[in-house]
Each structure stands twice: as C-alpha cells, then as structure tokens.
Amino acid sequence: MTFDEIVALLDTKASGKTSVIEGKTVISVSPENWSEISAILKNESKLNFDYLMCISAYDKGDNKVYGAAYNFYSTVNNHYLEVRVEIEDGISIPSVVELWKAADWHEREAYDMMGLKFEGHPDLKRILLSDDWEGYPLRKNYKEPDYYHGLPVPKDKSYWD
Amino acid sequence: MAEYLFLFMAALVIASAFWVVFSPNLIHSAVSLLFTLFGTAGLYVFLYADFIAATQIVIYVGGILVLIIFGVMLTSKIDSPSIASSSANQFIGGMGAFAIFVMQVAVIFNTPWNIGSEQSRDATVGSIGKLLLTDYLLPFEIISILLLAALMGAALLSRRN
C-alpha cells in the first residue's frame, strides 16, 4: 500500500485521530489516541505492520516538545510507515510493548536518553547509562555534570595536562 | 623403620579424625576425613592387605568422600566458603561417646590378641576373589542387590517429576 492508501484506511477506521504532517509522508498521532492507532496498525490485516524497526526520540529544541518517531514495516505487505507522537515534557506516551516486543528496549532507550515516559512499559529503566545517572543526555538543554560520584568530569584537554 | 611408619600413620588417623569432629567448618571436616581415610589405607598396607588398601582409596576417597563433600555443599548455601558446623545436645552426645569409648577400651584389653612374628604374604587378590565367589557368595550378592536398589532410588529421586 502506498502512503495515501494507508492514510485513507486509517481515516475510515479511526477518523480524525490521525493527521498527516504537512509536506511529509509522516502520520502524526496524539498520545491519547496512540494505543488505539497502534493496535490498528498491528492487527488490521491490510496494514499488518508486524515489524517495528525503530523508535527515535527527538527533541525539538524548544525545551518543551519532545517526540518519538516510530518506523514501521510490514514484512507481509512490504510497505512502510512513519508515525510520530509528540508530547509536551512530562506527559507519557502509551507503550506499545504489548504489540511489538521490539519496542521494549527501544522505549527504554528513549527514556534513558530523552526522558520520554512510556505508560504501561513493563520495566522502564535506564538501559545504556547506569541506573543512578541524572538527566537525559540527548536533550538539547542537557548540561554535562561537573562531578560524577565525586570524581571531576574532564571537560577539556587541559584536565589531562 | 616399620614401627615409625606405623606410628606416623596411626597419629595421622587419630589427629585427622579429631579434626573431623572438632573443626568449626564442615568442609574442613570433610577434607580432614581424606587424611583419615588415607591413613587407614596405610594401616591396611601394614596388614599386608594391599588390595583392601587400594579399595579403601578408590571407594572411600574417590567415591564416598566426594559424595560427602557434595552433600555438605548441598545442605547449605553452596556459593559461600564458610559452612559452619554447630553441635547440639552436647551433653547427651558426650555421654554416648564416652560409653562407646569405655566399651572399646574394654574390648581392646579383653581380647586375646594373637601377636606373632612378622610374616610376608603373597598377593591377596586371588584368595579374596575365591572367597567372595564361594564362601561369601550370598552376602556378596545381597550387597549387590542393595546397591542396585540404592542406584534405582537415586535415579528416581533425581528425576524431575
């Protein structure tokens, strides 16, 4: 299916709950509707997006809006879809682990790096960084800590000299 | 020469047996038993029972002691290297042990020991084999049936469900 067909199908199934981002082949979904839409994406036989490739968390740079971009692929129908869920800081996104197990580690990574909270995730904890890390490093407003466990963090080469 | 060696063996048996009883650590007790068993094998050699001595080592040291150590490790937390042994009912146990001690001493002094001159003997293996398959055939077979039953019991216990 092409992108337009997918959008049309989604409109009939859940009208008004998805929107197309202007000029792009990307669907935008609000967090309230996301669990419904994700179930449709997975279970609707014409869509059958069984393969969640990637969840990319991103920071718009305005200290307020964060988003997650989901890239789906269907190994049965060979089509592709990108969905974005954008939130304001502090609001959580429904987790899709139930539908795609692949989301487990991706959501943990998004939480770890960008501080996105996923509601319903079985074990949302840091994955790459240590459990006691403070802050979310991939946010644009992240400041490197001066000390880590009492040790000074070397910020420029003069530290070694 | 032989006397010194005998005394050494006897001392080894007694000292290690003491440590088996008094060691605060169960595993140390089991290891101490190794020396007791070895010493006993040495004493068998003095009795010209070379086959029995080797049997002592292969069965007690190579088999039963390993079993005991396994058992000790399984009774407690297996991955901590301090398995303490504690003793309860010290008074009653002491009384029992003392009674047995008195009995043994009495037996030792009341037995008419047949003390003769040193004599060397030929290999004992042949005669042991002949006796086992003629005069003592019934006990031998009964023991093998007992062992078979034990083997089957162990197999049953270790099988899941």
Binding site: - | D50, A54, I69
Partner: protein, 366 residues
C-alpha cells in the same frame, strides 16, 4: 620384574646405612625422579601441543625463545625454550588468593591434585624394570590413585568462592567419577583375560599370546572405550567441559595463578601421560616391540626388541596416543554436559558391561 626401588636398595648397600636412612634416601631419590619426569613431561608436552596446534591451525607456534642461544630457526624446533620460559614465569608470578576464599583449602587443593598424579607414578612402569615400586596390584593401584585428584578439583572450585569455579568443580566431579566406571570396566577385561593385576604379568601375557587389542573384537572395542573415557577423565576436548574456556572462563582453575596454577598444569599433563602409558602397556603390548606383529623383518632387526629399548617402545606408543589426544583437541567442538553424561552412562557403560560378558564367554569357549 625388579623395580627401581629394589635396585637402588641393592646398589646403595655399600653405604652401610641403617634401614631407616636407606629407605628414606631411596624414597627421596624416587620422588625426585618422579617429579623430574612430571616436570619434563609437562615442558615437552606443552611445547609439543603448541606446535601440533600451530601446525593444524596454519600458524607457526612459538618461534622466538631459545635455550642457550639455540632458537631452532624457522624449523619445527623454533622457540624451543618457550615452555621453559613460561615455567619460570609461572614460578615467579604473584600468587593471588582472593579475599573471601577459603585460604586453607585453596592452598591445599593443588597439592591434593598433584599428589594424585604423583602417587600414580610410583606404580607406573615405563619399561620392564623401570618402575619406582613394583606393586602386585599395579593396575588397581593406578586406578585407585588417579581417583584422588577429583577431591582436589572439588575443593579448588569450591574454595575459590567463585560461581564459575564451582560450576567447573561440579562438572569435573560428575564427569571424572562417571568416566572412572567405563575405564575400570575396560581394564577389568584385561584382568579377566590375563588373570593378574600386575602390569608385568599383563605384558607377559601379551608376549606369550598377542597384544591385547588384538585379543578379540571385544578387547578392540574395550581399547576405544578406555581411550575415549580417558580423554574425558583428563578433561580434554571434546570433554573439557569442566574448564570450558568459552563457558566457565577456566572452570575450577579460574582464581588460581602462579605456582599453584602451575601445579594444576603439571598434574594435567602428567595425567595425560599416565593414561597413555597405561593404555600402551595394557592394550598395546607395553614394552614389546611392534616388529613382532608382522614377522617379515630379517632376524637382525630384532635387536630392536631388547630390554633396553622397552622404554623407547612404551614412550613411542604413549606419544602416539598423546598426539591423538591433541588431534582431538584441535579438531572437535566441545560436548554439552548432559551429552557427556549420556555418552558415559547410556553408551559406554552398557557397552563395557556387554564387553565384559562377551569376553568372559570368549575365554570360556576358546
């Protein structure tokens, strides 16, 4: 058959020592000889193994270290001093005892393992008269003594206070105790046929009859059961699961270093030598020359068959078997622990028992 012990007793008689001193002196000498044999065996076998593995893996193996300026060039003998250098390195290395280990047992364990191998050598003949002490029950003695080492392995694994070591020790104990049974049953075959536990008598039997491996099809099978089981008993690939490097780091040896680790190493290679010498004595005619197998050589060749060359033949047969063990190691993957137990309990032991029955029948009929 005279032993080194006896001949030393005779030749030292001129010293006019009292019996105690004499026996102590002889025991000391005998012990030194065994220790030297073990040390030299380890040095040579490790070098041999490295070169064999290098050959099989398209490598050169050690090429740099020499002895007294002799490096061996780019030949097979290159790096001839490598194992010696390694031995010196091991002896001078820091001896680490983990903080929460059971220190007493951790120190004791290597010595128990070492004693197991050491004591076995006392009854092990290298040729007709080259044996430290000649036991009447030689074969049984060897089997008995080689079962001592397993206690050391359990203690080593447990006292290290390391879960990997413990796994290794548990696996090793299960494996070694299990494989002792097929080994014992295969050797029992020989005892039944030759009617003696004395290794000299067993070779004597083979001299008057034929090599044991050619005695009957069952004996032939018994040799293979024995040999494969000894590969398992010495913890070598494909049965090296107790120290499986990719699984258990180094199994029960994980926490050991320096001299005490060197003792493990020494005993391991000593055990290899022991089982191969036993195999060659019991099944392959011991110090009998293989030239007798096919009587096509001119009479003059049989000079190779004299007692002096007994040592040569025993060593040759043992070295060939050791080479086969190394060949196994560098060819096969490792079995899993349940497969290993399966092979022992469901294949080897039934076959060995059936073997025992049939060889007894064979003896009755023929």
């Amino acid at each position: 058959m005279t032993s080194i012990f006896d001949s030393l007793q005779e030749s030292l008689a001129f010293l006019n020592l009292d019996l105690f001193m004499l026996l102590s002196l002889i025991s000391l000498l005998g012990g030194t000889v065994i220790f030297l044999v073990m040390a030299v065996n380890a040095l040579v076998a490790v070098y041999f193994e490295r070169k064999v593995s290098a050959f099989m893996q398209d490598r050169l193996g050690p090429m740099e270290v020499g002895i007294l300026g002799f490096k061996g060039g780019k030949k097979f003998w290159g790096g001839i001093g490598q194992t010696l250098a390694d031995a010196i390195k091991l002896l001078t290395k820091e001896d680490i005892l983990p903080k929460s280990s059971d220190k007493f047992l951790m120190i004791l364990a290597p010595f128990i393992i070492f004693s197991g191998a050491f004591l076995t050598f006392i009854g092990l003949p290298f040729a007709q008269n080259i044996v430290i002490s000649d036991f009447n029950i030689g074969l049984f003695y060897i089997v008995a003594m080689s079962s001592v080492g397993v206690i050391g392995i359990i203690l080593a694994g447990w006292s290290s206070n390391n879960k990997w070591s413990l796994y290794g020790a548990m696996r090793a104990a299960a494996q070694i105790i299990s494989y002792e049974i097929p080994i014992g049953l295969s050797l029992l075959l020989v005892v039944i046929v030759s009617g003696s536990l004395h290794l000299g008598d067993i070779v004597q039997w083979q001299e008057t009859n034929r090599w044991f491996i050619f005695h009957s099809p069952f004996a032939f099978l018994a040799f293979f059961i024995y040999f494969i089981s000894t590969v398992a008993e010495t913890n070598r690939t494909p049965f090296d699961i107790p120290e499986a490097e990719s699984e258990l780091v180094a199994g029960w040896m994980t926490e050991y270093s320096g001299f005490r680790w060197a003792l493990f190493f020494l005993s391991e290679y000593a055990n290899m030598l022991i089982v191969c010498i036993v195999a060659s004595i019991v099944f392959l005619g011991g110090w009998l020359s293989p030239l007798h197998l096919i009587n096509i050589f001119p009479e003059s060749w049989y000079i190779l068959d004299g007692p002096a060359l007994g040592f040569f033949w025993v060593s040759l047969k043992a070295v060939i078997l050791i080479f086969v063990m190394m060949w196994f190691r560098w060819t096969f993957p490792r079995l899993r622990v349940d497969q290993l137990m399966y092979v022992c309990w469901k294949v080897f032991i039934p076959f060995a028992l059936a073997n025992l029955f049939f060889v007894s029948l064979w003896e009755l009929i023929f």
